[in-house]
């Protein structure tokens, strides 16, 4: 009995076979991927659907599309993208960027999005989280949090980390959870782009404080960084962009190494 309990409680396993998720993130503008992509065998590296399909074939567990379209037509282009992805891709995906109201979320849900990710709009109007959770269920609502250290405190930032808020990161995450967030996507702006590893210390703190899944983001540079983030913080998922786009890390290789470290993963 003790052995069973220990196995179930082991920090290096998803409990009872639930796997740790690997999530490539695609930045999209006007329906096209914008971050450079250096992939073999792609007809069109700018086509988010083709890229998404490629990742799903490699064994990505989930995808995140961040839409940075700034035009008035943005909702229409997002909906078209979501429909195109949902038609072709057989794994779950999240869409984020500029979702401000229930109507945006409703349009994306009906186009086939599994989840939406909300960042600034939730900070500016926290009641939006309650409304979204009530309308669509908590499983649909991912709260993205960009955090940066200021004077030793983790502070929530907006506008891609440029604009500090009054909110301390852990406080805000707990508030988001209590309002109905189904998942937290936590990006450390101090680590993002450094390729020096995830912010395992903060991630562990957050992961221990909440009872909803946490996705680590910011800082992935090597396979070992993924091993570290799962072993040290026990988060549920890890997200990265450029290391996947440039082929620096191939998902099957990454999962093989995670498995060697007894971290539960889904292999395809």
């Amino acid at each position: 009995m003790n052995t069973i309990t220990q196995t179930l409680r082991s920090p290096f396993r998803g409990p009872g076979g639930l796997t740790k998720r690997i999530i490539p993130c695609l930045d999209v503008k006007d329906g096209r991927t914008v971050k450079g992509v250096n992939f073999v065998d792609l007809r069109d590296a700018g086509d988010p659907v083709e890229l998404a399909w490629n990742y799903s074939q490699q064994g990505a567990d989930e995808l995140v599309f961040l839409d940075i379209t700034a035009t008035v037509e943005r909702r229409k282009t997002m909906v078209e993208l979501v429909k195109a992805v949902a038609r072709q891709i057989n794994i779950p995906f999240t869409i984020g960027g500029g979702i401000n109201e229930i109507a945006d979320a409703d349009a994306l849900l009906n186009a086939g999005a599994d989840k939406i990710s909300i960042n600034s709009a939730a900070v500016r109007n926290p009641a939006l989280i309650d409304e979204l959770a009530k309308a669509f269920g908590v499983q649909f609502v991912v709260i993205a949090v960009d955090t940066r250290l200021i004077d030793g405190k983790n502070i929530v930032h907006l506008n891609g980390g440029r604009l500090p808020t009054e909110k301390e990161t852990l406080d805000w995450i707990l508030e988001a959870e209590s309002r109905g967030a189904g998942e937290i996507l936590l990006t450390s702006m101090d680590h993002d782009g450094t390729k020096a590893g995830f912010d395992n210390y903060l991630l562990k703190q957050v992961n221990n404080a909440v009872n909803i899944p946490v996705i680590a983001s910011g800082g992935a540079g090597s396979v070992q960084h993924f091993v570290d983030v799962f072993e040290q913080s026990n988060v549920d998922a890890a997200l990265a962009a450029s290391v996947f786009h440039y082929g620096e890390i191939l998902i099957p290789d990454l999962k093989r190494v995670l498995k060697q470290h007894n971290i539960e993963v889904r292999e395809v």
């Binding site: 179930l8 409680r9 998803g14 409990p15 009872g16 076979g17 639930l18 796997t19 998720r21 799903s56 567990d61 989930e62 429909k83 949902a86 038609r87 072709q88 057989n90 794994i91 779950p92 849900l109 009906n110 186009a111 086939g112 599994d114 669509f136 269920g137 908590v138 499983q139 189904g182 998942e183 992961n207 221990n208 909440v210 009872n211 909803i212 899944p213 549920d236 998922a237 889904r266 395809v268």
Partner: protein, 196 residues
């Protein structure tokens, strides 16, 4: 041809997209006369089980659904509706399976919703899981689960406790995971259902 029972509980775009990719013909069921055109049925559903049950009752299709003798597949909340009762909203459901839908107890080791890919192990041999290896991963996202039952559990998954990943009774089937989001094995399961 599969008839999808539409009652306004959740989005079915991904499900119909998957059926289209697989070349499985389907149509929509909005009223009782529509049932005849199809040889099998899917009850989709996401969100709140109690709210979904209310919507289903409003369609007036409940007596017809209960009397179906052709294969029926409930997906996620659509599966939970087949059970007797859900703790979600303290709701009385269709009662086609005399078992209950219960809430996961949240703790740091077992976060709720149960979100992600978990292993599914067949408890019985069935055509629904043909060509799907024991322990294959399927995509789950749910806060309530159907209790394990030796008579009705077709496959099980463990998350804190062992629960029903799928159930079967006569012509009625249910899956807790989302086959339309579960990669190649999810597609295999949909194909299997189209041939049952």
């Amino acid at each position: 041809m599969i008839g999808i029972i539409t009652y306004g509980a959740g989005n079915i775009f991904s499900l119909t997209a998957a059926l289209e990719r697989l070349g499985i013909p389907y149509g929509m069921i909005n009223k009782e006369q529509d049932f005849e055109q199809f040889d099998r049925y899917i009850i989709p559903g996401v969100g709140h089980a109690g709210a979904a049950m209310n919507k289903l009752e409003q369609t007036g299709l409940v007596p017809k659904i209960k009397s179906l003798t052709k294969p029926v597949l409930g997906i996620c909340v659509g599966m939970q509706l087949l059970t007797s009762y859900s703790e979600e909203g303290d709701s009385k459901l269709l009662g086609l399976f005399p078992i209950n839908t219960l809430k996961f107890a949240a703790n740091p080791d077992h976060k709720v919703p149960h979100t992600g890919w978990n292993q599914v192990s067949p408890e019985k041999e069935n055509a629904l899981f043909e060509n799907i290896p024991n322990g294959s991963h399927f995509y789950f996202v749910h806060s309530y689960f159907i209790e394990y039952n030796i008579d009705y559990t077709l496959s099980s998954t463990t998350y804190g406790n062992k629960f029903s990943a799928s159930i079967m009774r006569d012509n009625f089937y249910g899956v807790q995971f989302h086959p339309e989001k579960s990669g190649a094995y999810g597609e295999t399961l949909l194909k299997n259902f189209s041939k049952i």
